[in-house]
Subunit: 345 residues, 3 copies
C-alpha cells in the first residue's frame, strides 16, 4: 500500500507544507520512522525526537510546525494531531481477523440460551441455560457465559472471558481476554463461629460502549448491582469491587483498584495503580494521579495526589519539604552565629 | 416475596421499634432503599445517610437507634447488625444456579482420575491422570486440574480456574474464575552462562474453608509447599509467591502481594494493594494498612502503615511533618525578630 | 532416593567438611530441615537460622562455613551456594508430568495451522487459521493461539494461556497459566463525539528464553510491536503496556507495571509492584526498588527508590526527615533559651 502525503492530508483535513506527492508506505513512531513513513508530533515533549526523526512525512499542529520542519520533510498541519494520526494509521492497518458467523460445532450452547442474528460463538465457548446473546455479538473461544446472563448487540468478547450468572453486558462493548465479570464480592462478617461469608446476591451491569482490558475483574454486588456506566474505558488488571459505580466516560488506567461501594462520577480519571477507598464518592471529573490512593470523597474537578491523596498544593508542600528543612537549618545556623556574636559583646 | 418486619426481627433475634406489620419486599443500601425495603445502619459513619434514607425498615444497633429513627420507619434493633442484615438478605436472594451433577459429555476426564460421589464436572473442564476430586465438589466449565492434583470435598471451583500438578486444595473451599494455583515460583540464579531457572519442585497446599478471589495467583514452592491455612479469605488479584505461609483466618484484600518465603501468622489482615517483603514473618493478628509495604518482621498484634511500613506513632510523626515544619518556621521567624530587637538595643 | 554428602559435593564441585558418608534423602529450607536433609546458607542474613537448623548436611560458602558449623553436621563448601543448591535439589525432585506428544482429539486445530515435529496440543486448546507452532513446543489444555500467531520451538505454554492474532513468541520460552499476550493497548483520543478508540494494529514479539508468570498481560502495539527481548524473566501479574520495549535479561518482579512506549535497557530490574511511566527510558542495569514508581528517564546503572522515584541519597534525605526535624526543633529550643538568658541580662 502506497499513498502520497496529499491523500493523507485530505483524509485528516490538514494543510500540506512541502511535497504533496511524497510517498507514504506506512506509519511509525518518531524514533524508528523512515523517509517513506508517516509519523506525528502530538506533544511539545517530543520536539527533540521530532527534529531528529527520519520520518519523511509528519502530522503536526500549528504551534509545532516550525520545530518539526526538516530538510525534505513534508508536514501535514492539523488541529487534533492524535486523532488525525489515528485516522491515517487505519489506511495501512492490516485488519483484525474476522470472526466466523455461527456457532462452532465445538461450542457448548444450552438449548434454552437465546442467540441473536449473526452471532459468532467460538470453539470451547460455554453458554449456560437462559443466557441471551445479542445480534452481531462475538463470543470467542473458551469464553464462559453464565446462567441467565445477558450480552447485548455488537459486543466483542475476546477468548477466555468469564461472565457469571445473571450479569448484564451492554451493546458495542469490547472485553479482552482473561476478564472476569461477576465473581463474588469480598464480604465476611464475624459470626458466632468465625468469619461468615456474606452472600453476594447482586449482579454486575456493564452499559454500552465500554472497553475492559485483559485480566480485569469486576465483582458482583452484595445486593443490587456493581455498575459500569456507558463509555467507560478500563485498562488491564483493574479491580472493581462489589457495589461500585463508575460514572460515564471515566477512564481507569492499568492496575488501579476501587474498593467496595465507592461511587465515581462522570469523567473520572484514575491513573495507573491508583486506589480508591470503599464507601467514598469521587466528584465528576476527579483526576487521581498514578499510584495515588484516595481515602476521602472528592468534590467535582478535584485533583488528588499521593497516599493518602491530597490536593496539589498540599502534595507539593509535602514533596518539597526536604529543601524547606534545609533552608530552615541554614537559618538556624545563621541565628546561632548572630546570637553567639551578640553574646561575645 | 413479601414478608413483614416481625418476620425479619424473629429471624435475626432483634427487637422491633415501630410497626411489626410493615411489609418488606427486599433489601437495599441506605441510599437507594425505598419504603418497602429493608436497609441497615452498620456503622456510625453512615448516620447521615441513614437519616436521609427512605428505607421503611432498618436494622440498627442499640447505640444508633435514635439517629436512625424517622417518621413511619420501623427499626429492628440487634447486636450484630452486619450479621443480621446478611441473614435477612438471604430471605430475598435469588439462589445461585445449581451445578448439574455428573460429568458433562464435553469434559475431558482421564480414566485414571478418581471422582467422588455427586461431583459436577463442567463442559471443557480437563482433569489429568491421577487427579482426585472429592465428594460434592464442583469443577466448573473450562477448569484445568493437573496431574495428581487433589481437590477435597464440598469445594466449588468457578469456571476457568487452573490447578497445576500435585497441588492440594482442601474441603469447602471456594475458588473464583481465573485463579491460578501452582504456577512456578519466580526463581533464577546467576549461572556460568546467564540466569538459570531454579526448578520449582514443591506444591501449593490450600486448607479448608478458604475462599480465593478472581485472577489471584498462588505459586508452587521451590521445594516443600506454599501453604494457605484454613479459613483464609483472599480477594481478587492477590499474588502469593513461592514458599509463603498464610496463617489461619487471615484476610488478604484485593491486589495485595506477598513475596517469597514470607510467613504470616494467624488472623493477619493485609489491606488492599499492601505488599509484604520476602523472608519476613508477620506476627499473629498483624494489621497492614492498604497500599503499605512491610519490609521487616512484625510482632504479634502489630499495626503497620506506609512504605516502608512503620508503627502508627512513627507514621503519624512522618505524616504530620509539614505542619510541624511550618510551626518551626514561625518559631525561627520569631526568634529572628527577638534577636534583631535585642541587637538594636 | 538416598545419596550421601560426597555425591552432592561431587555434583556441585564443593569441598566436604565432615562426614562424606552422611546420608541425604532430600532438600529443605533451614527452618524445617531434618538430620537426613540437605539445606543451604545462601546469605549472611540467615546465619542465626542456619545455626539453629537441624539440617544434617548444608551447602555453605567459604565465608559462612564457621557460622554454619554444628555438631554432627556435614558442610559442603562451594562458591555459588544458590546455584549449587539448585543443582542438588534436582537430584531429589519428582519430575514434572510429561506432556503427551500429538494433537489431543478434543483440541481444535484449524487445518491451515502449521504444526512442527513432536508438538503437544492439549484438550480444548484452540489454534486458529495460519498459526504456526514450532518443534517440541507444548500448547497445553485450554490455550488459545490466534490467527497467524507464531510460537517458536521448545516453548512451553501452560494451560489457559491466550496469544492473540499475529503475535510472535520465541523459542525455549515458558509461559504460565492465565497470561494474555496481545490484547489491545489502551488508547483513546478525544474525537468530535467523545472518546475514539485508537486502533492497536501492531503486535507483541517475545524473544527466546523468556519466562512469563501467571496472569501477566502484555498488550499489542498501537503500531509496530511491543517487544520483550531474550532472557527476560517476568513474574506473576505484571502489566506491560503497548509499544514497551524490555531489554535483554531484565527481571520484572510480581505486580509491577510498565506504561506505554517506555523503553527498558538491558539487565533492568523492577522490584515488586514497581511502576514505570510511559514514554521514558531506563538505562541498562537500572534497578527500581519494590513499590517505587519512576517518572523520569534514568541513566545506565541508576538506582531508583520512592514515588516518584529518586536516587538513593535524595531518598534517604527524605526518609530521615523526621529525625532531622526533631534535631532542628531541639536546636531552636536551645537558641530560644540562650536568647532569653541573654535578654534577661
Amino acid at each position: 500500500m502506497i499513498v502520497n502525503a496529499k491523500f493523507i492530508a485530505d483524509l485528516v483535513k490538514g494543510e500540506i507544507k512541502g511535497d504533496p506527492e511524497k510517498p507514504v508506505t506506512g506509519v511509525c513512531g518518531l524514533k524508528d520512522a523512515t523517509d517513506d513513513q508517516l509519523s506525528f508530533l502530538g506533544s511539545k515533549k517530543f520536539i527533540e525526537q521530532a527534529a531528529a526523526s527520519k520520518a519523511g512525512t509528519m502530522i503536526v499542529s500549528a504551534d509545532t510546525e516550525n520545530e518539526a520542519a526538516a530538510s525534505g520533510r513534508t508536514l501535514i498541519v492539523c488541529k487534533n494531531v492524535d486523532f488525525a494520526f489515528t485516522q491515517a494509521s487505519m489506511v495501512f492497518a492490516v485488519p483484525a481477523p474476522k470472526p466466523v458467523i455461527g456457532v462452532h460445532p465445538r461450542a457448548v450452547v444450552d438449548p434454552s440460551a437465546k442467540l441473536g442474528n449473526n452471532v459468532s460463538i467460538g470453539p470451547c465457548a460455554v453458554i449456560e441455560p437462559g443466557a441471551e446473546i445479542g445480534d452481531n455479538t462475538v463470543i470467542s473461544a473458551g469464553c464462559y457465559i453464565g446462567h441467565d446472563a445477558k450480552i447485548g448487540s455488537d459486543t466483542l468478547l475476546y477468548p477466555n472471558v468469564t461472565v457469571m450468572y445473571r450479569c448484564i453486558v451492554g451493546n458495542k462493548d469490547i472485553i479482552h481476554s482473561g476478564v472476569v465479570i461477576g465473581a463474588d464480592g469480598f464480604g465476611f462478617v464475624p459470626g458466632p463461629n468465625g468469619l461468615v461469608k456474606v452472600p453476594q446476591t447482586g449482579i454486575v451491569r456493564i452499559d454500552d460502549d465500554v472497553e475492559i482490558g485483559a485480566n480485569t475483574t469486576i465483582d458482583r454486588a452484595r445486593f443490587d448491582k456493581t455498575w459500569v456506566k456507558s463509555n467507560v474505558k478500563i485498562d488491564d488488571q483493574v479491580m472493581i469491587a462489589h457495589n461500585v459505580t463508575v460514572g460515564e466516560s471515566s477512564i481507569l488506567v492499568g492496575q488501579c483498584g476501587i474498593a467496595g461501594s465507592a461511587a465515581l462520577g462522570r469523567g473520572v480519571i484514575l491513573g495507573a495503580k491508583a486506589g480508591i477507598n470503599g464507601h467514598i464518592t469521587l466528584g465528576d471529573g476527579t483526576k487521581v494521579a498514578g499510584t495515588s490512593s484516595v481515602a476521602k470523597s472528592t468534590p467535582p474537578g478535584a485533583v488528588a495526589l499521593g497516599t493518602p491523596a491530597e490536593n496539589q498544593r498540599d502534595y507539593m508542600t509535602r514533596w518539597t519539604l526536604p529543601s524547606r528543612v534545609e533552608r530552615l537549618s541554614q537559618k538556624i545556623a545563621a541565628l546561632q552565629a548572630q546570637l553567639d556574636e551578640l553574646q561575645k559583646k
